[in-house]
Symmetry: C2
Subunit: 217 residues, 2 copies
DNA sequence: ATACTAATGCGACGTAGGTCGCGTTAGTTG
DNA sequence: CAACTAACGCGACCTACGTCGCATTAGTAT
C-alpha cells in the first residue's frame, strides 16, 4: 500500500510542499477537497454501510481510478477527511475558571454529537473511521491533536493556581471527554447532558486528588 | 434483512427453543458453534481486514450459502460470536472491600486486553464488532450484560455500608472501565497498568462525592 | 512560448463477494 | 418405523469492486 505514503505527503494547499518534487498545484488540491467534500456528503446522507466509491466519484466528478491510486479506497478517503478535520482549529473555552472551562468542553462534545443539526456529519465521520485500520490510525492522530489543543485549559489553570502543577493536562482533558465518546461509539448507550456534567466533574475531582499527576502515582 | 430475526431466534442449545416451530436439534446447533469457533479462529489469525466468508466456511466445513442464509454475512457471524461471549458468565471480584473489587475489575479488563496470551481474541472480536452496525448492536448488548453483572460489586458494597445507597451501580462500573476501552478502541493510545488504577480510583472518588447518584444531581 | 511530466481521465478486464433454485440430509412427529 | 419438513449442501450465476495500460490534461521549468 504505497497509497499511505501518498496520503501523508499530499498535504492541503501547503505552500512549502511546492518545493518538493511533487506537484500540489491547483488540480491535485482541487481534486482532494472535492473528493473529501463528496465523501462527507455521501457519508452523511447514506452512512458508511451504503458508502461506495463510485457514488462519491460521480458526485465529485472524479474518476474511480484516481481515487484508488491516491487514497487506496473508501477507507483512505475517510482517513483523509479526518486528517483535514484535525487540522481545523477548534474553540477552546477560556472563562478564567477551570471548572467552568472543563464543563464547557464536555458540553461542547455533548452538543456536537447530540444536536440534530450538528451531529450527523461528525457522528458519521468518527463512526466510519472506527471501521478500518487506516481510519483508526487517523482517528488516533485526530484525538491526539484535539487533546493537546484542549490541554491549554489545564495549563492556564495551573498558572492561575487553580490546579496543582503536577497534574497531567492531557489526562484531565481525556478523562473529561472519554465517557462521552465511550457511550457514543462503544456501548451505544444514550448520551444526555447530565452525563457530560458528571464526566467533567469527576475528572476535575480526580485531578485535584492527584490521581492524574504526570509522575507515577 | 430477515437474517436479523433468524439470528435472534437462533439461540444456543436452548432447551425451551425446542418447543417452538424451529428445529434447534443437533445439527443447527453444531453448525452454529462450528461457525462461531471458526470465525474467532480466523479473526484471531488474520484480523478483520483479511476476514473472508469463504475461509471461515472452509475451516468449519460449512457451505457458503448456509452462512449467508443464517447470518447474512461476516458481520452477523461476529455479532453472534459476541452474543455467545456475552452469555458466558465472568468472574466478578468479591473481596469484601469495594475499593479492592473495583480495582480488580479494572485490572481484569486491563489484563484481558494487554496480556499477550489473552489479548488477541478479545481485542480482535471487539474491534471487529465496532466495524459493522450489526456488530455494534451486539456490542451494546454485550456491555449492558457485563455492566449489570459487575454492578453486583456496588450493590454488595452498599449493603455493607461502604458506599452511599444513592449511587448508581452501573454508572460506577462504567466509569471504572470506560477509560480503558476508550484508549484501546477509540484513541488507540497505549494502555498501562497505572491507567487502570487511575480509572478505578477516579470512579470510586466520584461515586463517594455523589456524582454518580441515581437521581438527577 | 515551448517542452516536459505529474496527475487525471478513460474504458475494458479479472475476480471475489454474494445470490438463487434445486436436490439431499437429518431431526421431528405420529 | 414411516412420513414429513426444516435446514443444509451444491454449483451455477450475477453484480460490483478494484485493477491495468494507455491517452489526455494541466501544472512546471527553461
Amino acid at each position: 500500500m504505497q497509497a499511505l505514503k501518498r496520503l501523508e505527503s499530499t498535504l492541503p494547499n501547503d505552500p512549502k510542499a511546492a518545493k518538493t518534487g511533487t506537484r500540489p498545484g491547483g488540480r491535485s488540491a482541487r481534486v482532494r477537497t472535492d473528493m473529501v467534500t463528496a465523501t462527507l456528503a455521501e457519508l452523511t446522507e447514506k452512512g458508511y454501510d451504503q458508502l461506495t466509491v463510485d457514488a462519491i466519484c460521480h458526485r465529485a466528478g472524479v474518476h474511480k481510478a484516481t481515487v484508488y491510486r491516491r487514497w487506496g479506497g473508501v477507507d483512505g478517503l475517510i482517513a483523509d477527511a479526518l486528517a483535514l478535520s484535525a487540522d481545523q482549529p477548534w474553540p477552546i473555552p477560556d472563562t478564567g475558571n477551570v471548572d467552568e472551562d472543563i464543563q464547557l468542553l464536555a458540553l461542547e462534545v455533548y452538543t456536537t454529537f447530540t444536536d440534530p443539526d450538528l451531529r450527523t456529519t461528525p457522528t458519521a465521520l468518527i463512526g466510519a473511521a472506527l471501521r478500518s485500520t487506516l481510519g483508526a490510525a487517523a482517528l488516533s492522530a485526530f484525538f491526539t491533536a484535539r487533546h493537546q489543543q484542549a490541554a491549554e485549559i489545564v495549563t492556564r489553570a495551573v498558572k492561575r493556581g487553580q490546579l496543582p502543577a503536577s497534574v497531567d493536562p492531557v489526562e484531565l482533558v481525556r478523562a473529561a471527554t472519554a465517557p462521552l465518546y465511550h457511550r457514543l461509539f462503544i456501548t451505544g448507550e444514550p448520551l444526555d447532558e447530565p452525563a457530560a456534567h458528571r464526566a467533567a466533574a469527576a475528572a476535575l475531582l480526580a485531578a485535584r486528588a492527584s490521581l492524574f499527576d504526570a509522575a507515577a502515582p
